[in-house]
Amino acid sequence: MTNNWIDIKNANVILVMGGNTAEAHPVGFKWVIEAKARNKATLIVVDPRFNRTAAVADVYVPLRAGTDIAFLGGVINYLLTKDAIQHEYVKAFTNASFIVKDGFGFSEGLFSGYDSDKREYDHSTWDYELGPDGYVQVDETLQHPRCVFQLMKQHYSRYTPEVVVNVTGSPKDKFLEVCKLIASTAALNRTMTSLYALGWTNHSVGTQNIRCMAIIQLLLGNVGMSGGGLNALRGHSNIQGLTDLGLLSNLMPGYLTLPAAAEPNLATYLAKRTPKPLRPGQLNYWSNYPKFFVSLMKVLYGPAATKENDYGYGWLPKLDRVDHEYDMLRVQDLMVQGKMNGYICQGFNPLQASPNKAKTLAGLGKLKFLVVIDPLATETSAFFENHGEYNPADSSKIMTEVFRLPSICFAEDEGSLTNSSRWLQWHYRGQDPPDEARTDIDIIAALFLRIRELYRKEGGVFPEPILNLHWPYLIPERPMPAELARELNGYAITDVKDPQDPTKVLVKAGQQLATFAQLRDDGSTACGCWIYSGCWTEKGNQMARRETHDPGDRGLVPGWAFSWPANRRILYNRASCDANGKPWDPNRPLIHWNGTKWVGLDVPDYVPTAAPSKDMGPFIMHPEGVGRLFSRAFVKDGPFPEHYEPFETPLGTNPIHPKVVTNPVARVYKDDHSELGNSSEFPYVGTTYRLTELFHYWSKHCLINAILQPQQFVEISEQLAAEKGIVNGGEIIVTSARGRIRAVAVVTKRIKPLTVNGKVIQHVGIPIHWGFTGLTRKGFPANVLTPCVGDANTQTPETKAFLVNVERA
């Protein structure tokens, strides 16, 4: 979230699209109701199903699953043709006026530079035209034919209401009503907030779904505003934290990236990641990358990380390409090929969560060993067990050694979790672990120390990073959460001096840092995750703070927990003020310039003493200083989002450009491609979702929740039921090209057929939660049906739009 849960109450328009907040985040949804009740906010829901959020919406619009970009592209076209944008904001705070290189173009579904053999773009034209001074050329009048504004206008001019309606199946009057409501927030005193979740990410175009909304919010001047922003409602309690900490195949903490093989030393690595400003006067905060990186290496390798050895740079594993080379879908594929020997699943149930269950089942059976660390008996840990049609494994043929290690649950744990609002909240242990269960920290520590001991005694391949890993914990077998949190915050190794006045010591050796502004790239500071710096300072544990006061009643609660970065509650808040530093809307003040510095309710997202000027933009992480309507080469499938059909399209064509039907750069493995279905065999659109009573495949182990949702069901429309002779409560079989599930049919008015490109499209709603362990009746997880197709940028699987058939059982 750029903003936070409470801030939703400040919105005038709330768009829930790509999520179902009332069902999946019910308590956070209270703030939507608060906005409706106290702020007269209008709630819009756009979703294939009339879901629980839609039930309390002011406007509900159905759309075909997987066509969000067509819908939102239509909204962008509406805003531009009706000139319903926040003009000053767009001119000063976005790259609308930036001139793009000659040669950039888009034609019949493809951007310039496409290589169909490699299924990749050459991105060289997807960038700005630089002047002789090295800075981007701009046209403040926005009239230059190659300025971002004009290119964007041209790109989205194709998304007329007629095209939108033809692709999405949304009723035209409803679509236009939504456009009008969204456009109303271009006014200085109105904002829209966007709430989304996996309904946007679980697509082969997931990243671009979100990019569409980023463009819309920038055009409306809603980013950085109280009651505005782009708000990703994250699914797990610490999915934000683990992402922040870089527990992903290509990342390191604080959104630093793993090195590539072509970067043989620290200098080449840092040179590629330390941007130069693209406009004069920009803060260009990523220019501090070397400080963040060297300080991380000092936490990882302690005294063994020296200037002479590039702070242990050579010990890091390197990727051939710095994208998602070893993401989950790739690992799953390598497993099936017999190229993986070991797998450790810590609180993760891939047999249920990875797409195409049969593939995961085959893959796990080819491992030599599987280690499952979990508080519960998960399906993954029991994958070798035969549960009939629910898990058709033959134990006798599976040679995988399986270890099941009991970990604690939240109630027995201490530490911090980062919620959707970027709040790090500390929690405490309330009971002892049952029997022999241990904390994840103790389990990981014991395993690592045992491995290290073996390397010490026996030697082995490339032992340096293992032997040199810094392990400064008081009891090595049991690192304390407080010790790890202090590492995350960062500390001074030697005295940190004021760069303006070297006689002044800012932080004494051994002290905790107050902020990431104190980080250095000379090895004098250590910091595990630069954006978390400030979480455990000399003042103690800032994450455990419990002050509830809320100055200005804006929902910022600055004394509650710690919000990264720097306890800032609303990101990009500099953009809530005009060029002179005055809030666009005096009734929603966050910060303002008082003549000598920035002051206000929130921590300024800007240099606190930098006078407002046109020069330094509010998007300080960008070398251009402004928000990107045109995303350059940062998004693989195009600088502007474009509608591509789901890989399993019910139309068999792309009505906007029939030559390029699906995302041209999404990666699909050969075997997975042969397991894609077509609409003649599988005519209906399957889409997966959660229920409020159950959490993934986890709370079916809890008695109350199992009683509330005891049995698997699938939702279909009355029309489809009538056509297929299916009755409400009867059994049905749902099949895809990958598998088959059996469930109770819920025949509902909440799903309606849509007419798309002259064809009637039916959706089949498939809740995800059941399996062969737990207290509910046995059932089939939805991933029996879902395809292994990933988003082109993140490899998040396309589980919200795929093809199925249904039959009476």
Binding site: L248, Y343, A437
Partner: protein, 195 residues
């Protein structure tokens, strides 16, 4: 002797100095029936946050047991934390069922091992399991570690073992996991953010 509840408390209050209920001549059953304490009054309150979605509602957990040696604390009630600025005491149907997660019959209680070809697990010790896993990992790493790629560039990676980390574990557990996994050279490493 018939006493109302109010009279009973009056009497027992007056008789506090030195006399027991029995000495006053009350039947034991009546005394027990009358004195019913508020269930949470002898519990320990601990603050936590709900482990499910990322709203992260505040919860208060009430446990019995004073955590003295050989006296294991056990949670007997969980409710919303009214001080929490987002949740203000609310919990959803999942959060309201947290006690049943803590005491789920599916909780794992001790390490288990399934040998190749077997249809079930057997109980093992932590020491045995840790040792066996450490040996398997080291053996696999030593055998399959890739020091250089096809172009002869240093890559120092271990691709034949992977890990999925838990998005419900703490930042502190996550960071320790990051440290160890990356130092081993593992690249096939993700959390639930990918699905």
């Amino acid at each position: 002797m018939e006493l109302s509840r109010r009279q009973f408390f009056k009497l027992s209050g007056a008789a506090l100095a030195g006399s027991s209920m029995a000495a006053l001549g009350f039947p034991a059953a009546e005394a027990v029936a009358e004195v019913r304490e508020f269930k949470l009054s002898r519990t320990t309150e601990v603050r936590n946050t709900c482990p499910y979605c990322a709203v992260a509602c505040g919860v208060i957990m009430y446990s019995l047991g004073d955590r003295a040696q050989n006296n294991r604390a056990s949670i007997m009630h969980i409710e919303g934390d009214a001080d929490h600025p987002v949740s203000r005491g609310s919990l959803c149907p999942k959060g309201a069922g947290l006690l049943d997660f803590v005491h789920s019959p599916s909780r794992l209680l001790y390490p288990q091992y399934r040998a190749p070809g077997e249809s079930g697990f057997k109980r093992v010790s932590w020491d045995w399991a840790t040792d066996r896993i450490a040996h398997l990992m080291k053996e696999d790493r030593d055998r399959n570690f890739v020091a250089k790629n096809a172009q002869g560039e240093d890559v120092n990676r271990w691709l034949t073992t992977g890990m999925l980390a838990a998005s419900a574990s703490t930042n502190e557990a996550g960071f320790l996991t990051f440290k160890t996994v990356r130092s081993l050279g593992i690249l096939g490493f993700d959390n639930q953010a990918r699905v």
